[in-house]
């Protein structure tokens, strides 16, 4: 954290590399959702328009697969980064789900329902962030498996009967829908539309958040930085 940042009351929340990964993920997931749902709901006139816009079903498939390959490349890079880089290892440790997260979740429920006066105090990543992170990672891995099965249908059919591929198709589509709901309803609200950061948390572009915001929303992280003398 540079001196200029601190004097402006800002702390870094997302490093440049994470911001790039996040941006790639955003673009690719949106592209996959558009091309995927156009096929899933091909009866719909908007879906028809999208498919025609992409140059027919054949080209739609190519766009979808290119995006999928890039997404997997992004994922592989991310896994290596989290496992082997200094920054990644630190972040990964912060992302492990621990007992405290479950307690925090229950505590926040109690608080929101008016049964408790204490709102849980979160570190850099609270239960919401962790749920999102593992949900998205696990979801991408699972949807990739069914996706690759369907892509290499000739190869898959050597080992699996037809109904397994029918099943893979169903899972792929519905899981995509579930993931879409999670990302575009839950993630957008929690991170951007949430009253604390409305209309947008700028950290996905600038990487920085205000010290004030950090103290309010992630008090344990604030205190940790203070102890380390970084603030």
């Amino acid at each position: 954290m540079s001196r200029a940042d601190l004097s402006a009351g800002k702390v870094i929340r997302m490093s440049l590399l994470f911001r790039i990964q996040h941006l790639i993920l955003t673009v690719l997931l949106t592209l996959l959702a558009i091309t995927g749902f156009a096929l899933m709901y091909h009866e719909n006139s908007l879906a028809r328009w999208i498919i025609e816009f992409e140059g027919g079903v054949h080209n739609r498939g190519i766009v979808h697969r290119i995006a999928a390959v890039l997404l997997l490349a992004n994922l592989v890079y991310h896994v290596f980064y989290m496992l082997f880089s200094r920054e990644g290892k630190t972040e990964l440790r912060l992302l492990f789900i621990v007992r405290q997260d479950i307690n925090d979740f229950l505590q926040s429920l109690r608080y929101n329902l008016g049964m408790s006066k204490e709102y849980p105090r979160f570190g850099k990543y609270g239960y919401k962030e962790k749920f999102q992170y593992w949900g998205a990672s696990g979801g991408i891995i699972l949807i990739s498996i069914t996706g690759m099965m369907l892509w290499a249908e000739g190869f898959s059919m050597r080992f699996f009967p037809k109904f397994i591929l029918d099943l893979a198709l169903i899972i792929h589509g519905y899981q995509g829908l579930l993931g879409f709901v999670l990302l575009y309803l839950w993630h957008i609200y929690n991170v951007h539309l949430h009253p604390s950061s409305f209309p947008m948390n700028p950290s996905w572009i600038t990487g920085k958040v205000s010290v004030e915001w950090l103290r309010e929303e992630h008090p344990l992280e604030y205190e940790k930085l203070k102890e380390e003398g970084l603030l």
Partner: protein, 354 residues
Amino acid sequence: MRKVAFAAVLVLLGGAFLPGLARDASASISLEKCTLCHGKPEFRKLLVDGQIRDLFVIGDTLAGSVHAKKVCTDCHFDVSEIPHREHPKRVTCTHCHYKGNHEGAPQSDNVLAYFDSIHGQAIARGNTKAPLCQDCHGNHRILKAKDPGSRVARVNVAETCGKCHMEIYAQFKGSIHGTALAKGIEEVPSCTGCHGEHRIYARKDPKSTVYSTHVSEQCSTCHGSIKIMGKFGIETEQVATYKESFHGVANQFGSRTVANCSSCHGVHDIRPPDDPLSMVNPKNVPKTCGKCHPGANPNFAVGKIHVDAKNKESGIIYWTATFFKWLTIGTMLALVAHIFLDMYGRTRRLRGER
């Protein structure tokens, strides 16, 4: 003077009526004259290709047909002297069957449709083997298409087409449609049921009813109808499930290489799945799928092909789809609830701080 005028009137009237009388007279003479030669049962001609052409015609030949009241020269109007020196030309039906004709001959746009069809186009290009009206409708014994005796009646039309399309006719006779037709089942399609009557086009012509992207629509006219299929205990969901499948979607968006109904079920040789000769018999499925998916194995036949995730009979696929549906609905509700709770709690927190 008066006599002269009277004579003139007579002449005028005669001019108006006599041709009619004369025509009747010439008609009867014509038939008699024609049958001088054509009335002999052994009157026939050996054609170049070795076929025998029967030229035997008697007064009764047209009786019972739609042209019962016509005489030879009404159609063979190029015969002006008897015996005719030249070979009479092929009869042109449009001589009478045109719009606004005075004969009262029925006229529809079918003749125009025919000229646009593959047969009409072949004729226009000078193919003498291509069929004219009389090749399908018959020559002397033309009956209304609804008459079961007509050569173009639904029960007979396959045989009529089969005169030229012999191999296809043989395939069709063994198919489920052909055998059902022979049993006298009314709903079953003959050639014209799928190909159209006068509007017959080559299957690679986008105007054709059996063009690759039109096939499913064509089959669904009967196979999508519960009213028709219910009679024979055949499911109607096949069309809808096809349209939902990868094949069907690609087909709807204009892919011509993707499988349509007939790619798997056959064209003229469609047989029910339990027939060992059927292309969709489980034993033949690997070979059928292998046409497009090289190396297709018996795995292709394991599980229903026309699978409907919304139907309980689809078993595990139905249950997985239902599970995901409720999982998604449940997650959405939980998330929305969490969002509202969070907003509510936050508002209270802010109020407390103030």
